[in-house]
Symmetry: C3
Subunit: 416 residues, 3 copies
């Protein structure tokens, strides 16, 4: 007979987390230093804090829509992000910063990068939320970041892609990685919809809060990298384009949600998720968006495709491909990311006079996408197989989407 | 027999919103450009983000006190603000920026202005929240912004009022506009208090959260305009005055709320709303407030009058003038705004030596107020009459203050 | 027979609050001026806003874990902080700023200081939350700030301690002050656990939100003082050290919480409170922490000790010393503060070559701690005795941890 209680993580979570933490501290002791002499520190600090709020509060609270899974959504996001930023500082320093024999520098730029890597792992995590335990989530996040940084290294070294452009692929990489893990780890028992996978009006407001912080600070997220380079004009354009795109995206997502509903009602999930699509699409295509109306049209098409995908493709994915995507990551980050990539290609081809140059750019651009998608799917498959190992004690189907499996929910928490 | 369901908005909301959005994109394509060469962009960006949080999160969450109307309060505020900022960039550029034949520039200053216009429309919207549908709200907000910008144009062109001063009339304009719309659209069936117009302890905390963001970032709101002009001394004084005024305002509102209660208890609605009054009053009188104690006294008197008005005038307005004001906008923005205007007048008369100059100033100052109030009441009347048209499908009385009329509240939102 | 209702505060709270407010305004009128000529105002303003969010939103919402005490937790924190900042500006100006016969200047530095003083009083307040009425809280907070500023004056004048270092003792002072007040005011009837002192899954999320804001903006809190001095390198190091320490702290607190639980589950209270310990410890030891791995080890040991203390010492304190500590302030601020002081001492002794210098530093360092602790315990005792006076109308045991004693919780708040 199956055990009645969720598997006890006492011998797993602390061991894995504290061992990793000890390794990180050792690696930091030998290889990392706080760098001096940053002149423009106060400028970037405010933008960094915006991104910090997004990563540690926004993503976690956005996922609190699962009414019985609020502590886990916010708490595990926090835990995963806190581990990921440390690992990302190390990996990024080892692979992507040319530094000779010097120590890896911790500065505002590397912290901004670390937070963006953490964001990509939180995106991937969104597909699996509620179905695996925190040890799974930790391992998945660290492997995702490793894969994404290796992918960046490949792109920058072999294809000479600009760092900004390769970084902005985080949405595509995270989404496809997560979807692949979700396919590999598909559970038979929980389709079509788990009984606890539901939303309540109050958890909806917490989720709204997280989403709003993401939406409000998204211009900072897209421009944080440029801030750290002091490219004032580029960062200003990025901020404005993202702002306008998000504004249009929000209006469009609401409208399409009503259009798709037979009763003419708005679906909160569509609004919350799909209004972010404009930010994703603009991020991927940012280097070619110059005009406000282009940004706005991008936002409109992103929200349109994202909402339709959320409405029609999400359930189809589950039935056709055995892929259950808790937060709809594919519709919010994956498909809008691909759309942004297409818009980048189209605009670049339009402004190109020379046919040979255009073809060469198209091939180059397609190679970047294919490399990233292939890498993310491969890493996702490996991660999924690794997580299938029973040693990590996966929760039973009955305990999915439930805080009780991991959190003491006695009513007198503060006194025990 | 009346229909049992709320009117289906499928043929209204998407059509209106997407059509407007398409017009906006067209207008942006022909008339708007992202301007280059902003030198001090990083400075103003942090302040802009504070205002951004206030407009898109603060106002919406402040209105979530309506326990069954949380999705609508936050979601419709978001939708309305996202549309309004686009329209405000256009209107402001056409009417208020001298630019010859050049394109309208999108820069941090125009974005800050756009957010302030959006704030004024959200203030107006506060009077009608829960009683009209989102199409109504959209039209009302766009007309409010149009009216307010035309009013600014009148004041700046005919009376040569400083832009800062005319902008700060947004509280007065928004409040009186909203109150007028509310009078015109008064519904017989919902007095004295709608059964669903109530607050629950949990929705009270969401509302507290929104209010706190407004309260905390109000110094940024009052000084954002000056930031964009790099008037460091003025912006510093504005920040300090607003900060002190708000601190005193908060203490006073709580005290007066206890004093007015026969049981000696605090009314959360009084605290949340009236502690903001200090920020409103200081904003209107900002150009003459130089001393900390003047700012503090302003905050004290603002909270005093606002709390008394909230406690005694709000219900009276409904009975005497058929004006139901959901969020108590008149008490929070209207009357404190007028008080700020009075304080401005009094201080200016006090420091004036010459009698003739003083009289001339008084006449000038009164003209500004009267023009604004007349304009807001006129626009409010027109808007109210326009919204009475049945084509917009107003909700039935039974469906007021209820998310179910507009939102899919099945418990499995993410899966449909 | 005992009264059935909570004591009516109508003749207490408004009188005390408005009288104090009037005194403050008078003192401001005679002694305080808004200073001009701050050059680097925009830089520090963004950091100031982070601290502002922490003090007015973070602490208040962190304490909303008490499910029936949410309005009070957030509302009273707001009221107390709003009064404290005004008093702190005055006291700090009188005692700690050399200024000859000039007015006390209100500038960004003095506002940052005022907010840090307010934080120390909110820490002290955490021990008593739910057990005393708002008049008690106000008096307690003002006395705490007075004591802390006098303590700073003693340290800076007699022992020539650096202002930054003496300021960072706020955690130790606040915690021991609060614990002492709690001992003096111990109520027999409420041990071991009051029936209303419990947490609910929804109030847990509000509390998580407040905690996250504290955690996210803690680097700003630790470096705000340095920002106001334009010590760019020092502030950058402080930000990085605090950031890394907090990240490790979060992972450790979660792990230790699982280890201590027989069921292998996470206790939300441990995570929320103890993940902040890293920030406290780093703050106290900041001047000697140079390497990232030192900051990370500090965070790890802080969270370890804090979680163990929260798990095992908190209840022991209540049984052995008659000290009930609502928010676990001793475990979150007191003990990690002492740990930071020890780390400071150890590192300083390690890097010192000369034995005599080392001994002299140790004696000096111990004197600072003993002075602070003695001062806090003494002021706590005095405050406790003063608050025992029945004139302040303490709530009955039955009305502890209950909003109904102080807030109108009729369901139609907005209409009365």
């Amino acid at each position: 007979m199956a055990p009645r209680y969720a598997p006890n993580l006492r011998s797993r979570l602390p061991v894995v987390a504290l061992l990793l933490e000890a390794c990180f501290i050792l690696l930091f002791a030998f290889f990392v230093d706080i760098s001096e002499g940053i002149e423009d520190f106060p400028h970037i600090y405010a933008v960094f804090q915006d991104v910090h709020v997004m990563v540690f509060l926004g993503f976690g609270f956005m996922a609190t829509f699962l009414v019985r899974y609020g502590f886990s959504s916010s708490g595990f996001s926090l835990l995963v992000a806190a581990m990921t930023v440390q690992w990302a500082i190390l990996m990024h320093g080892f692979l992507l910063v040319p530094r000779g024999r010097e120590m890896i520098a911790v500065n505002m730029q590397s912290l901004v990068f670390a937070e963006m890597y953490a964001a990509s792992s939180l995106i991937a995590m969104g597909t699996m939320l509620g179905k695996i335990n925190p040890v799974h989530l930790l391992i998945m996040a660290l492997l995702e970041v490793t894969g994404f940084i290796v992918n960046q290294w490949l792109l920058q070294t072999l294809l000479r892609v600009q760092p900004l452009q390769s970084m902005m692929l985080l949405h595509i990489f995270g989404a496809f990685f997560g979807v692949m893990v979700s396919c590999v780890l598909y559970r038979k028992g929980i389709e079509p919809v788990h009984e606890k996978e539901k939303l309540h009006s109050k958890s909806g407001l917490f989720s709204m809060l997280g989403t709003l912080f993401l939406w409000i600070f998204w211009p900072s997220f897209n421009s944080a990298y440029l801030f750290s380079l002091h490219k004032i004009n580029a960062q200003f354009k990025t901020v404005c384009s993202t702002y306008l795109s998000l504004a249009v995206s929000c209006v469009t997502a609401t409208s399409i949600s009503v259009l798709c509903s037979s009763k003419g009602k708005i679906n909160l999930a569509h609004v919350q998720n799909c209004m972010l699509a404009g930010g994703v699409t603009v991020a991927v295509a940012i280097s070619v968006i110059d005009q406000p109306w282009v940004a706005m049209t991008t936002g409109l098409s992103a929200a349109l495709i994202s909402t339709l995908s959320f409405r029609f493709i999400k359930r189809h994915m589950q039935m056709a491909f055995d892929c259950h995507d808790t937060c709809g990551v594919l519709s919010v980050h994956g498909i809008p990311g691909i759309l942004g990539w297409c818009i980048h290609l189209i605009i670049q081809l339009t402004i190109s006079d020379d046919f040979t140059v255009a073809v060469r750019f198209a091939v180059y651009h397609i190679t970047i996408l294919l490399t990233t998608v292939a890498m993310s799917l491969a890493m996702g498959t490996i991660t999924g197989i690794l997580l299938k190992w029973k040693i990590w004690r996966p929760p039973q189907n009955r305990k999915c989407f439930d805080d009780q499996a991991y959190w003491e929910v006695s009513s007198q928490l503060f006194c025990t």
